[in-house]
């Protein structure tokens, strides 16, 4: 981002008359708006349609298909309708907090995009405390959710808000601890440094680096699901228990802000997992392509493509999990966190330290990553075999075309 600002100021001489701080501010506001309009908003909207279509296929329904080609414009119709809905504030609500809460949730989500990388050189700000910044700023979401639950003056909202706070605060511990092995291996908190420490091929990724990071990968992914309030951990808005959780009293656009944050959060979860464990934008060196020589050698198109492809695949996996698994109970969720994830992630840190010392002494351990890669490959293979077996037993055909 600083490089981009330098580039723009260098090429447009009249900008050099204005103080640099103001120019930087304007450029950053411009790119933040672009990011919001052309990436986050589009992603959140289109994902809502994709999720409903995927859910339809999983439940042997069709899903929205009346508005536009294959119902693609459904998210615009929903947005338009919610925009026109009455903006309702309950009489007994704490009005200021009630009105402020959606924006805090949204800000906590959107601020994470500052350090989410999109490619080599494509990052808004390559902070040297990148991943720590993510953990810090995403805690703002808890404040917003708790605020919305409290200020609605509604028992369902309050229960949902409290549950959500308990869940996010608990799961922040294993998630942070699962990130630590990666930071130990990299020696840096910067997102781009973490990606550079990995390689283009799967066995060079941190997920397969050693047995401890392999476990940390799963802990991180599941914990991130819980932090994003996704099923099987969506108890804060469980329809069958609480009416709609913390957003029960919200209508129209304020409700959309909550869901906007939730769907954009999907991308954040996926992008962070890809960054930390799945190699990020690393591509083999001969695939390096820069954007028509623009921005000299700072933008790697193939890398950006690979990064977004991996992230979108993970988003699909998260949607898949949501419509496959039932919801956990509160006590089960807390059990998973405190009894299994926290001790295991502590063991992971110690294990990684010992592994790093041993790997210096015995380079043979470097081959473990190939074994882990094969083990990791077995998981999708086993799932694929199970699915084909189920299809064979149910004597049903497989329709690979997603459009009916």
């Amino acid at each position: 981002m600083e490089r981009l600002a330098d580039y723009i100021v260098y090429n447009l001489p009249f900008l050099q008359q204005i103080p640099r701080v103001i120019v930087d501010l304007i450029i950053m506001l411009f790119f933040a708006t672009c990011m919001l309009l052309f990436w986050v908003a589009l992603f959140a909207g289109i994902t809502s349609w994709v999720e409903r279509r995927v859910a339809g296929r999983i439940q042997s329904r069709i899903g929205p298909n009346r508005v536009g080609p294959q119902g693609f414009l459904q998210w615009i119709a929903d947005g338009l309708k919610c925009f026109l809905k009455e903006d309702f504030v309950p009489a007994a609500a704490d009005k200021k907090l009630f009105l402020l809460a959606p924006y805090i949730v949204f800000a906590g989500m959107f601020a994470v995009f500052v350090v989410v990388p999109f490619g080599d050189g494509l990052i808004i700000s390559n902070l040297n405390i990148g991943i720590f910044y993510v953990l810090a700023i995403s805690s703002l979401v808890v404040v917003g959710i708790l605020m919305s639950g409290w200020s609605s003056n509604n028992k369902w909202s309050l229960l949902g808000g409290m549950r959500s706070a308990a869940q996010i605060v608990s799961y922040e511990i294993p998630v942070s601890l699962a990130i630590l092995p990666v930071i130990l291996l990299t020696g840096s908190l910067g997102m781009q440094d973490i990606i550079r420490a990995q390689g283009p091929y799967p066995w060079q990724w941190f997920a397969f680096h050693n047995p401890f990071t392999f476990i940390a990968f799963f802990i991180f992914f599941i914990g991130a699901l819980a932090e994003g309030n996704r099923t099987p951990f969506d108890i804060p808005e469980a329809e069958s228990e609480l009416v709609a959780g913390y957003n029960t009293e919200y209508s129209g656009m304020r409700f959309v802000f909550f869901f906007f944050a939730e769907w954009a959060n999907l991308y954040i979860i996926a992008a962070l997992t890809v960054t930390l464990f799945l190699g990020g934008w690393n591509t083999p060196a001969h695939l390096y392509t820069n954007l028509f020589g623009l921005l000299h050698r700072s933008v790697d198109v193939a890398g950006t493509f690979v990064f977004i492809l991996k992230s979108l695949f993970l988003v699909f996996v998260i949607i898949w999990i949501r419509w496959t698994l039932p919801r956990l109970r509160v006590d089960q969720m807390m059990d998973v966190c405190w009894k299994y994830f926290v001790p295991f992630s502590f063991a992971n840190i110690v294990g990684t330290i010992i592994w790093m010392v041993l790997a210096d002494a015995a380079p043979v351990l470097g081959y473990v990553r190939y074994i882990l890669f094969v083990v990791g490959l077995m998981v999708p293979l086993a799932i694929a075999m199970k699915i084909t077996r189920n299809f064979r037993l149910a004597k049903s055909e497989i329709h690979l075309n997603p459009f009916i």
């Binding site: 009346r66 508005v67 459904q74 929903d78 309708k81 925009f83």
Partner: protein, 173 residues
């Protein structure tokens, strides 16, 4: 006859302009995103669940269930309405945010139906809340409920939300 969207040839050869009204764009959004409230009263609710299920799939029309009245646009009064429940139904209707629509599903909700001689049964939900579409049947099949939803969509598409006065936000056709 008025068409919601028409193609008008522009001055340049081979080029056309799409014309529409703001009302129609807004109606398009409102009609295609009717979120209905998860609220069932009696046996009609079973048919309502069936309509949301794989065979009739209301989600095709952009209608998804919302558990809270604040976020729902459509109330399906599905089943016999007793006096005790009528108070709650009216409360739920009042809790819904504008614009809101009501389908009286089944004979009981339209006029009391089979149970109308009962001492505790409300003879039709239109005695307490305004109804947009009456759907006969005991209970109506999922296809019929889908048809009722399409009727509500048609009513919305015929309305002129920008021309309405604030008092009569309800659509009368």
């Amino acid at each position: 006859m008025y068409k919601p969207m028409s193609l008008v040839p522009s001055g340049e050869p081979g080029a056309t302009v799409i014309t529409t009204r703001v009302d129609d764009v807004l109606n398009w959004g409102r009609a295609n995103s009717l979120w209905y409230m998860l609220f069932g009263l009696a046996c009609c609710a079973i048919e309502m669940m069936q309509t949301g299920g794989p065979r009739a799939d209301l989600d095709r029309f952009g209608a998804v269930p919302r558990p809270t009245p604040r976020q729902s646009d459509l109330m399906l009064v599905a089943g016999t309405l007793t006096y005790k429940m009528a108070i709650r139904t009216k409360l739920l209707y009042e809790q819904m945010t504008e614009p809101k629509f009501v389908i009286a599903m089944g004979s009981c909700a339209t006029c009391g139906g089979l149970f109308s001689p009962g001492y505790s049964v409300l003879k039709g939900v239109d005695k307490i809340i305004p109804v947009d579409v009456y759907l006969p049947g005991c209970p109506p099949r999922p296809e019929a409920l889908t048809e009722a939803l399409i009727h509500v969509q048609r009513q919305i598409k015929r309305s002129r939300p920008l021309r309405q006065k604030h008092e009569d936000t309800k659509i009368i056709t």
